[in-house]
């Protein structure tokens, strides 16, 4: 039985998020004929476009930029971890720390007074509240009451708290839904891990199709995060036909292709071809050659002093001028900001300049330069929370994975990870009619979606 279009409109939007799926790989797989459904979509008026992710290109920041349509200076999420104000104690920001309203809060009229430039642009155009289905977007835990249903993606410590409403939780439990796979076993138990990835993907499919058919919605966003996990551990198998998991890679992508194809067909049928269909990713991926431990480098160059008798970021000792947090956010240890701050506000610029020079001169043991680009916080961020951001963010050339743990003493190391995030190779599949200029950025998508839903 055909469903009635909600609010009598066909102006609905379907977004399929594919965590960490690069534009280049998707292009490649489509060209090689591995993804027939995606190919079919591209043949009927859709374009596969390269897209820039947020900086830093970490999932929590990038997904928040997607769902709020604004930069971290407005939404306030710079990574998975922050330090408590005036302290070196770690905290993990969650959905309550997102300072700008999300897409579903804007269209559902549940933004509770939160404002953003995007909300100011479109808020008034939402004449009656619209419903959303939001499945598995990272950084949405804990779930808040929304106009629709939501189950949180990574990190989701408690599925009940991560899901709204309870009936949605009950359904998810009934199908044995999992918010994440156990990545800790990826190396020790490769086959078990792969099996779990396929299992989790199957649960996503089931949940997507269930809510697609059984909920009333104007905006549907479903995210697959298993791609990111597969990539982190086995991205070297994505193109290498001799890799033992190359075949697995292709069949995993083919399964995703089927999910996309099926949802696309149903969606076009429901909206008589007028709905807004998007697939997108929060960053790209490339193969890791070496891990570059930014804090080890800062220590070596005398910027960072550690007291190893303390734990985590409390190790930062007096005399530290700068330190880094994952993946490559660099903070000046300002007197006015941290308990053992050692740089006065007046000296800040000089330290930033010195850091830039040092960082740009990091070379791998074979002489290749590591840093591709270096940005000051003020160049990247604007808005009420711009001041909470890092002083500098580094982006590396492909192959160099920047990390900011405090344990490593060697600048270059090799870990178990075979894939690393890339900032300039996220993807988006969108209607050709939507192409507007060059340089698509993840923050642009929310505006396109709101524009579609409100006209």
């Amino acid at each position: 039985m055909p469903r009635r279009a909600f609010n009598g409109r066909h102006a609905r939007a379907l977004v399929i998020g594919l965590d960490g799926v690069p534009h280049t790989l998707l292009r490649d797989y489509v060209d090689r004929g591995y993804l027939p459904e995606t190919k079919r979509i591209l043949d009927c008026g859709f374009a596969l476009r390269r897209m820039d992710a947020s900086i830093p290109d970490v999932s929590s920041t990038s997904w928040t930029s997607f769902m709020t349509g604004v930069n971290p200076g407005e939404h306030g999420i710079y990574g998975f971890m922050e330090l408590e104000p005036g302290s070196y104690e770690m905290r993990f920001p969650n959905s309550a720390d997102i300072m700008a309203p999300t897409l579903w809060e804007i269209i559902g009229r549940t933004s509770c007074g939160k404002r953003s430039t995007l909300c100011d642009r479109f808020g008034a155009a939402v004449d009656s509240p619209m419903r959303s289905v939001v499945l598995n977007i990272p950084q949405t835990y804990p779930a808040t009451a929304i106009n629709g249903v939501l189950t949180a993606g990574f990190v989701c410590p408690d599925l009940r708290k991560g899901t709204y409403p309870d009936s949605c939780y009950d359904y998810l439990m009934s199908i044995g839904y999992v918010p994440d796979v156990d990545s800790a076993r990826a190396v020790e138990d490769r086959d078990g891990f792969i099996e779990e990835l396929f299992m989790a993907l199957e649960k996503r499919r089931k949940a997507f199709e269930h809510f697609f058919e059984n909920e009333e919605w104007d905006l549907f966003i479903g995210v697959i995060t298993e791609t990111d996990r597969l990539h982190h551990f086995f991205f070297d198998g994505a193109r290498d036909a001799a890799h033992p998991l190359h075949g697995t890679f292709i069949s995993f992508y083919r399964k995703i292709d089927e999910i996309i194809g099926k949802l696309f067909n149903r969606f076009m049928e429901l909206t008589r071809g007028e709905g807004l269909f998007l697939t997108m990713s929060d960053h790209g991926f490339s193969v890791v050659e070496q891990t570059v431990n930014v804090n080890a480098y800062l220590s070596k160059e005398g910027f960072l002093k550690k007291d190893v008798t303390r734990r985590y970021f409390d190790m930062i000792d007096t005399g530290t001028r700068a330190f880094a947090m994952d993946p490559s956010r660099i903070y000046i240890n300002l007197e006015c900001r941290y308990p053992r701050g050692s740089v006065s506000e007046a000296d800040r610029t000089a330290v930033v300049e010195e850091l830039k020079e040092k960082l740009l001169s990091i070379n791998a043991p074979d002489g290749t330069p590591v840093i591709r680009a270096l940005y000051e916080g003020s160049e990247l961020y604007s808005g009420p929370h711009a001041g909470d951001g890092p002083d500098l963010v580094a982006l590396a050339h492909e192959g160099f994975d920047l990390k900011a743990g405090l344990q490593q003493d060697r600048v270059f190391s090799k870990g178990v990870f075979k894939g690393m995030h890339t900032q300039n190779d996220a993807h988006c599949i969108m209607s050709k009619g939507l192409e507007a200029g060059d340089g698509l950025h993840i923050e642009d998508l929310a505006g396109l979606i709101l524009d579609h839903l409100t006209t």
Binding site: M90, P157, S183, H232, D401, G405, V416, F417
Partner: protein, 267 residues
Amino acid sequence: MDHLTALENKSIFIIREAYYRFRNIAVLWSIGKDSTTLLWHCRKAFFGKIPFPVLHIDTGYKFPEIYRYRDRYAKEWGLDLIVARNEEKIRSGMGPDKGSKLECCTELKTNALKAAIARHGFKAILLGIRRDEHGIRAKERVFSPRDGDFKWNYEDQPAELWDNYKSTTHEEDHYRIHPILHMTELDVWNYVKREEIPIIELYSSKEGKRYRSIGCQPCCSPIESRARTVDEIIEELTTTKTSERAGRAQDKEDAYTMQKLRSLGYM
């Protein structure tokens, strides 16, 4: 009647009600100040000899002071002590650094308790939790039903007006009984003082630090404090604004998050 006596009377009433209605019960003793206060009430309720077992969940990670205290007073007070351990997991090296902290707690505490309840067929367990400990505990009942999976549905609990406690439930369920739910942290210390209950030395300040809440050694950290005697602790509590469980290592969600981030190469 003074305040502390009123609180004590209420606890003793609940303990006797629980014993009368269920018979096959046990009191959970973590050796902290709250469960020791509860134990004290149990002793008073039955004139010195507790007619049911005292259950200690031993994770193997408790402070050495806890074991010493437990063994000394179990003997002195003539307790029928049952020590429950998840031997299999302890032997396999489960710990807060091995799996996640959440996993460690689930295996070594929750599952050890589940096994003990099943083995001894307890119908109800007395626990020394207090309403003021944590937001979610404010929703607790004195007689709190749990299902076979230990799940507590706080939105579906019997009303408890005028001290009427509901004690019938499905076959597989058991009850958690909370006789000191109505006491605050400060009440407990005032009561400890009045009754001269022996208190484990971890609560007293040593080199400027003391434990305000005790559990497993790896997951507890002391707070800054100069309070060495019960009087000084009471004095400190009347002026402090930080929460009692602030000294416990990062809460379980943070621990889970950290483990997840590590598994993807962060931190």
